[in-house]
């Protein structure tokens, strides 16, 4: 059943087939987990939230009308639950205030260790993840969907329920902030 067309699996799951639903979970769990993991910054919370996403999807699938794709619908649940989680926890992991001085490139406003220190790829990845975690939630969500999950602006806009131009603006803003935050380390990143 795992190899069946998605619309068939979705319809079976809507009618109560748990086997079909588990097949859908296996197809989408990686992307759902990846999205959440990038949003919350730690694997334990990401795992718990991914579980909640699929439980919520199982409860709600009888009323899934197919107006959007199943993955878009699932992502929407994931984004809403994750944003609720972040709001409930009252934190944004490692968030610092990125002032206009930081955006303008004032080194004094940028926190962190000396960029002259030799850093490995894992350390860079950690810093990038940390920096993404400092973005305001609405910017972080767009960035994670587009860069982390490979969505187009149109797809991300559908998940977020906002105009495509809003996603475009948020991506520009997120990149500007991330570059300001990570500029001292970007020379170490291997493409």
């Amino acid at each position: 059943m795992d190899d069946g067309p998605e619309d068939v699996l979705v319809e079976s799951a809507r009618r109560g087939s748990r086997e079909a639903f588990v097949a859908l979970v296996r197809r989408h769990r990686g992307r759902v987990y990846g999205l959440i993991r990038r949003m919350v910054g730690n694997p334990v919370d990401a795992d718990d939230l991914a579980q909640e996403v699929f439980l919520t999807a199982w409860r709600s699938i009888p009323s899934f009308k197919g107006e959007a794709s199943f993955s878009t619908w699932l992502y929407r649940i994931a984004v809403n639950l994750t944003l609720s989680f972040l709001k409930r926890k009252g934190r944004e992991k490692g968030r610092v205030e990125l002032t206009e001085r930081a955006i303008a490139g004032d080194a004094a406003a940028v926190e962190g260790d000396s960029p002259e220190r030799d850093v490995g790829l894992h350390e860079i990845a950690r810093r990038v993840d940390e920096a993404v975690g400092t973005l305001p939630p609405h910017l972080r969500t767009s960035f994670v969907l587009v860069v982390g999950q490979g969505m187009s602006h149109a797809q991300a806009a559908q998940v977020l329920g906002c105009p495509e131009n809003t996603v475009s603006w948020r991506m520009h803003k997120a990149r500007k902030l991330l570059r300001a935050r990570l500029r001292p380390y970007l020379g170490e990143v291997r493409s």
Partner: protein
Amino acid sequence: MRCEKARRWLSDDLDGALGPARKARLAVHLSSCHDCRAYRDDLVRLEATAGRRLERSADDWAAFERRLEARLDAEARNGPVGRVLEANRRAWAWPAVASAAAAALILWLALGRPLGDGGAPFGGGPDSLASLIAVAETDPDIGERISERVERSIREMTGGWEGRIQAAAAEDPLFWESLSDEELERLAVELAKDIGGGGAK
């Protein structure tokens, strides 16, 4: 073209969202602007890391699936609507049982007490249960205290039923949104019965 505009277009271009005409204009700007070329190069490096796959082991996924299956099993046993209804029924059931038990006990002892002997079926002095219940017949405060005592005993026997009431709806932000119209209607009808009318609007 101003650099701020060019960088906005650059962001769109990285996402494949820039049209051909703007792409051409951007290319002209980049050919003569070192700062914007450096900006583009920094973004490319950043996203090579930010967009990397987050791997999980097969064991991790197997554990994830086992945990989800267990929760789906629990869902199948109780169901979201069933859990809410059961929680509400429990909220009313034990006090109702305790009150009924207390009332039945008082009534049975009152009817069973021999007429005129001034004592209680279980005999004993003024501190006996029968004497207490006899007093409860005429004193509502004592009657209420007896009910509470019976209720507490039942609670002790059942291991604290309040702790098992699941506030599923309160903990799950999407719980109510996930219910269908039929489920909401059924819930409203059942809750109205439980609380004696005037429930859901």
